[in-house]
């Protein structure tokens, strides 16, 4: 086993551990905000480590650049959607505590949670 293989294995293993921790957090944490916290932190780092392992495994600069772009867009998309989810959750919780007349717009943005 060459040293690259060892590094690839180590990166993959660490990345998967982060994924497992994120999934565990998603299942076990009590509310949406903490679940998002588990998902965004762990998944982005986990994906980064797996992407790094894949780039090292292929050993080509062109492939590595493409993988880096995939990682970058996944992170941007994940960051955007978790912002939107967090905001939606906050609005829904505020609405739960003091009933708001405009319940109609919750249905068009994807339904109440």
């Amino acid at each position: 086993m060459s040293w690259t293989d060892a590094v690839v294995l180590a990166l993959l293993g660490t990345g998967l551990a982060f994924y497992a921790a994120g999934s565990l957090g998603l299942l076990r944490f009590p509310d949406t905000a903490s679940r998002l916290h588990a998902l965004t932190k762990a998944d982005n780092l986990g994906l980064g480590l797996v992407a790094l392992a894949a780039a090292l495994y292929w050993g080509s600069l062109a492939v590595a650049a493409k993988i880096a772009l995939v990682w970058l867009f996944a992170v941007i998309a994940a960051g955007t959607t978790s912002q939107l989810l967090a905001r939606r959750t906050r609005l829904d919780e505020a609405r739960l505590h003091e009933p708001h007349p405009d319940a109609a717009d919750s249905a068009r943005d994807g339904g109440p949670r």
Binding site: I76, A77, T80, L84, A104, D105, A107, R108, G111
Partner: protein, 320 residues
Amino acid sequence: MTLAFDLILCLMILGTAGIALFVRDALAAIAFFIAFGNLLGLAWLSLDAVNVAMAEIAIGAGVTGVLLILARARLLALGDDAASAATPLWLRLGALAACAGFVVLLAAAVLSIPPESGLDRVVAPLMPGLGIENRVTGVLLAFRAYDTLLETFVLLGALVAVWSLAPAGAWPGRPADPGMADAPMRRVAGTFSQLLLPVALVMAAYLVWAGSDLPGGAFQAGTVLAGGLFVAAMGGAIGLPSSDRPLLRAALVLGPAVFLAVGLAGVAAGGFLVYPEGMAKTLIVTIEYTLALSIGVTLALLVAGTPVPGAAGPNPDGKG
């Protein structure tokens, strides 16, 4: 190692399919259907069918998933609880028997194909005449172009069918503004779309260009374009156009019309959809670029839905 990967993948595909079928909550069923589509894409990938994998993930999981989520949201808005009613046992057993019979027939058909009689052997010697390398594109746009031509008209027909459901007084109007109602959410989605839309345009152009020689093509590119356009509409960066705008109508029919015109012009070269000697690549790329634009706009409008009365976009000049 690969066998283990394939087996786990098969189990996950069957598992997500089972959950999508049996779970009661419609949103959970849709979520598992999308996961199922993505896993199915991985399965196509491990069969080296990259074109099919991209189409499955982009259209089967992506566009269909979005359409299902929106359909559920509209059902909820109409007062329907969007849950499946309990079905009688005979109906379940009947559906099981019908599906099982179909699977056996399909498996028998696939297993009866001798391994050495693949389409590839027929297509490969003919590819140099086209000047492109991607055999899937060769089949879709040259050897079986007739099918693809009809498909593009079917897609256009689907949009016409959706538009024909517009309530009285809403025609010709624009679809409901998909922009987020909450200002901070709209800003976040808007910032994201300002990054995503240019990238989607570049990506769509690349997918068509690469589609001549590598996996890719008009349908995949059109889906990427539609995604960029719709996210931009969600963030309020562009408004959805009124359904009677001449420019919009032109964008919708451009691809099928160019395809049909090239096909009719082929009569001079020997028959319908025959490409003249040496011109094949130019014509295929032209058809694919115009098709990608039309497919992108059509898919975005399919997601946007029927025109609604009095829906005014924030930017009436926007093209979507």
